[in-house]
Amino acid sequence: MSKKVLVIGEVRDGDFRNVSFEATAAAREVAADGEVVGVLLGENVSSLANELIYYGADRVLTVESDKLANYTPEGYAQAIQEVVDQEDPDGIILGHTAIGRDVAPKLAARFKSGLVSDAVSLEVAGDEVIFTRPIYSGKAFEKIVVQDGLTFATIRPNNIAALEKDESRSGEVASVQVDITDLKTVIKEVVKNTTSGVDLSEASVIVAGGRGLKDADNFKLLDELAEVLGGAVGASRGACDAEYCDYALQIGQTGKVVTPDLYIAVGISGAIQHVAGMSNSKVIVAINKDPEAEIFQIADYGIVGDLFDVVPKLTEEFKKVLV
């Protein structure tokens, strides 16, 4: 059956987040030969609309308002609600990002619908869409179907491949007027993270440091390595607890769950709570001076050695082959 599926695009610092294209690919699959309608919320976002069409949307609706410049649950919910009322879709797909995680359950409650959070893949079997998602922070997985009503899901960045960009695609871009009122949450200030621009959940390479780094200053070694690889820096809770870095960098069962192509664990022992957050990475490299460290049990490649010797050499070697 062909379906109409909305995909909510997400723009950050003037550009789409990659997960928006991945969500579009997911929506395409759910829609089968139906229609994928991109939805863009914000201020001055319509110039980006075609981009979503190149990646698989059939047409795009934009809702522009100064009240949507920053995300608020009420503002986004009002805008999406209006689009849903107009379009009466069979499905809605968003990225499982700070915004997706926050607004999707609010909308699901409003629509009295189910919601599949944090899906890493999906398959269409007849009328049914079967989503796969991690449980116990990736220690296990479940397959889950929406019994009836809206096929509503947030998808984890970096797992579902975006479609090839096709600039020959075209479609209608229309604007929807929504009078955003009664915003109860007011954003007073946004403090930008000072470290590298690559977001952990979307990074294809992560260099993560543990207590073995011994000092906040030494995280510079990891910054340098991550920079050469175009990756992001993460950390174990051990490192966060020791105040070598911010909790925002923590990976694991009580931190971020990540699935990059390459995960380099530096001075991390490999505690079960840490491993839960990163063991589904495609390739894992461990650098640890203790040959017995648990992390080697799940690493594809390991170097037993002092990180202060290994990491700078590794950075130099990557520099050589990557430029």
Partner: protein
């Protein structure tokens, strides 16, 4: 202030997961208060100590969850409520929302605190869902919370950036790591907890039918990821190891 905490009992984070016949094996597993909910309990106690009022911890689950409620009481919460949901088949986040929504319907609430996500199901849905059902605002992933003159000023972690948000009470807040350092229950705390009120309710008490709370989604399969095999430990001179690693990543693993 009327302070409520919604909390869940989860597997200890040390537990390995085993699956038999599509179900998670829970014999002998250690349980804890979901670590994020623990931050919520701690914050609730601190708010009460600063502003006065009462902390009520609420969970939806089976009778075993009494243990985790008692732990929260031992930490310093005043009252506990256990809502038994055994009658609900195929429950999901919609079910939990519906049950909690029915419970909170006639409650005077200033603030509801919960965890950002539970370390088992990992959906993070119940907080925002409940807020929507109750018609109150929510802020998720909070690392700092202050209340003054009927307003909450919070710091919200947004994928590493920080937003400072002002919101009127009543509000539902979900706790992110970094919000506080949860206390351990003291011995006198544990003694006192035994005498604190713990109310047990079922769906009937909330005027709900099983069908009202039936899930909208259904889990059709659970499985473990393929066991990761230990890989290759490189040897030789460090310079050679580094060379080999980079070349393996390029040619064998093809990730750079």
């Amino acid at each position: 202030m009327n302070i409520y905490v919604i909390m869940k009992r989860t597997f200890d984070t040390e537990e390995k997961i085993q699956i038999e016949n599509g179900e998670i094996v829970d014999d002998g597993a250690e349980y804890i208060i979901n670590p994020y909910d623990e931050y919520a309990v701690e914050e609730a106690i601190q708010l009460r100590d600063e502003h006065g009022g009462e902390v009520t911890v609420v969970t939806v689950g089976d009778e075993e969850a009494e243990k985790e409620l008692r732990t929260a009481l031992a930490m310093g919460a005043d009252k506990a409520v256990l809502i038994e949901d055994e009658d609900v088949e195929e429950g999901d986040q919609y079910s939990t929302q519906t049950i909690l929504g029915a419970y909170f319907e006639d409650k005077e609430v200033d603030i509801i605190l919960g965890g950002n996500v539970a370390v088992d199901g990992g959906s993070g849905q119940v907080g925002p869902r409940l807020a929507e059902q109750l018609g109150i605002s929510h802020v998720t992933s909070v690392v700092k919370l202050e209340i003054q003159d009927g307003k909450a000023t919070v710091e919200k972690d947004v994928e590493g950036d920080m937003e400072v948000i002002e919101v009127d009470l009543p509000v539902l807040i979900t706790a992110q790591q970094g919000l506080n350092e949860p206390r351990y229950p003291s011995l006198p705390g544990i003694m006192k907890a035994k005498k604190k009120p713990l109310e047990t309710l079922d769906l009937d008490d909330l005027d709900l039918d099983e069908e009202d709370a039936e899930g909208k989604t259904k889990t059709v399969e659970r499985y473990l990821p393929p066991a990761k095999e230990a890989g290759k430990i490189l040897d030789g001179e460090l310079d050679d190891q580094v060379n080999e690693l980079v070349s393996l990543l390029k040619t064998e693993a093809k990730v750079i």
